[in-house]
Symmetry: C2
Subunit: 284 residues, 2 copies
């Protein structure tokens, strides 16, 4: 991709650094894709570590950077934040905007294989291959120092991406993650649409299954979860994932937080700890 095809459409100073929003033609998704970066003040002087954030259902490239309060801590630690959109937009696929849990805002970080979705919904390839190449080519980053985190559907995405690319990242954390999508109602519906009926394929995007088979990923995993999260019991299934991690002896730190819900008021409340968790591994 040339510099010319990376369109900066919004730029704002924030905590001494810069929030920048870009649009670029995605070859993986055969559509324009949006992403936001936060360029910390330290990036003026030289390359800095990268921390990717994958967002949840309904989110665009904006929600995280507007609501999570991460820039304050990214500026403190010197981390370049990258927050991609959760799907391509305006692809022309019939009904793409009709259901908050399917299509626009609901890519679920999978590579679709069904006729309806396969052309544009290649979000796994987008976040694991194409976006990192764009970031490494165009921004002052240290590509060997990369962390990953995410929230809800993006927590699912972060766990799956890390488990399938066990040597790629130096740090990993999730908030309110969908841990067992193959048993989670919203995700089941999306997996059927995007992946068809092949349950073996579904399992390649199921963090709990991947953790059961895991032999390579060994990053300390911080998981924060609100106890009053309305989706906890039926949709997120973090206790099943915890049991899997314990059975495997995986270094999981699950923190349950009384009173907290699922939205960005929770995410923002946890942000300082998450950025410290990543900085500890990325900024050494």
């Amino acid at each position: 991709m040339t510099n010319e095809s990376l369109e900066l459409f919004s730029k704002d100073k924030s905590f001494g650094g810069w929030v920048e929003m870009y649009r670029h033609p995605s070859s993986a998704c055969q559509a324009p894709m949006n992403f936001t970066i936060y360029r910390p003040p330290q990036a003026e002087k030289g390359p800095v570590p990268i921390l990717y954030y994958l967002s949840g259902l309904t989110c665009t490239h904006e929600n995280f950077i507007l609501k999570a309060g991460a820039q304050q801590f990214a500026a403190e630690h010197g981390l370049l934040l990258v927050a991609p959109d959760t799907s391509p937009r305006n692809t022309g696929i019939p009904g793409e905007d009709d259901d908050f849990k399917l299509g626009s805002g609901a890519g679920f970080y999978v590579n679709a294989i069904t006729e309806k979705w396969a052309k544009h919904y290649q979000m796994y390839d987008y976040v694991t291959q194409e976006l990192p190449a764009v970031i490494e080519a165009h921004f002052p980053v240290q590509p060997e120092r990369v962390g990953l985190f995410g929230h809800s559907m993006g927590g699912h995405g972060a766990l799956v991406v890390a488990l399938r690319n066990p040597k790629r990242f130096r740090s990993l954390s999730v908030l309110s993650p969908i841990c067992v999508p193959t048993e989670s109602p919203f995700a089941i519906e999306a997996f059927q649409e995007y992946l068809g009926e092949d349950r073996e394929l579904w399992l390649q995007y199921d963090a709990n299954h991947l953790m059961q088979k895991n032999t390579e990923l060994d990053l300390p995993l911080l998981v924060d979860q609100g106890e009053d999260d309305e989706y906890l019991k039926e949709y997120l299934l973090v206790k099943a994932f915890k049991a899997t991690c314990e059975a495997k002896g995986y270094p999981l730190q699950l923190r349950m937080h009384p009173g907290y819900g699922h939205n960005y008021f929770f995410v923002a409340s946890m942000m300082q700890d998450h950025l410290a968790h990543h900085a500890k591994a990325l900024c050494v």
Copy 2:
């Protein structure tokens, strides 16, 4: 107002305290009004100081609490935040939603006197009289410890309210304020609609004029302003206000910030300092 008429419609834990959104029938505005509070953890144990925030054009009761990142610091200092909506909504006034700088989201903190707007647009009375009475009656607050701040149109509102009620507040600050509304295009249009042609009445809502006449208000005033704010020169006129303050010997601290714009990326970047400024006066 009875407890029954104060409707809690949203509640989320945030930084150890609670974000709560309320709707209540406003007698000043003859319409339901929305406001948001942040109840810090310290309010569990006893009454705490109050810090009012007045928002800018287009904002609802939500923008500040979602985007400014104030809860982190309110929890640190033990301040109860109050952020009212910027106007009544759905009043039935023709065209109320048609223009972002008039009607819904654009109350300008004045008491309208024109036939079209007078019944519902009594935002000055609402924020100076009715809302404080609601807060003091229903929440664990110290009504003698009250601070006030605001952004843009809400910076105008905060300055005007403080200058006209010089003994009411213990602390005052503003961000990107409209300082001379009688010479600011958006405000002129709104003042004509709400207040008619009586320029003497306009001046009662003009911070620069009120500062020229001021003999009572002597609170240290922190003003933060982005130098790359697109509205700075034509709409905000902070330099004229600074000159007025200097001529009066008023304790103004104006900080100009290179690179920063007008929106919540700027507001959030300044929030720690503003809450510390208020806490210094309110938490002694």
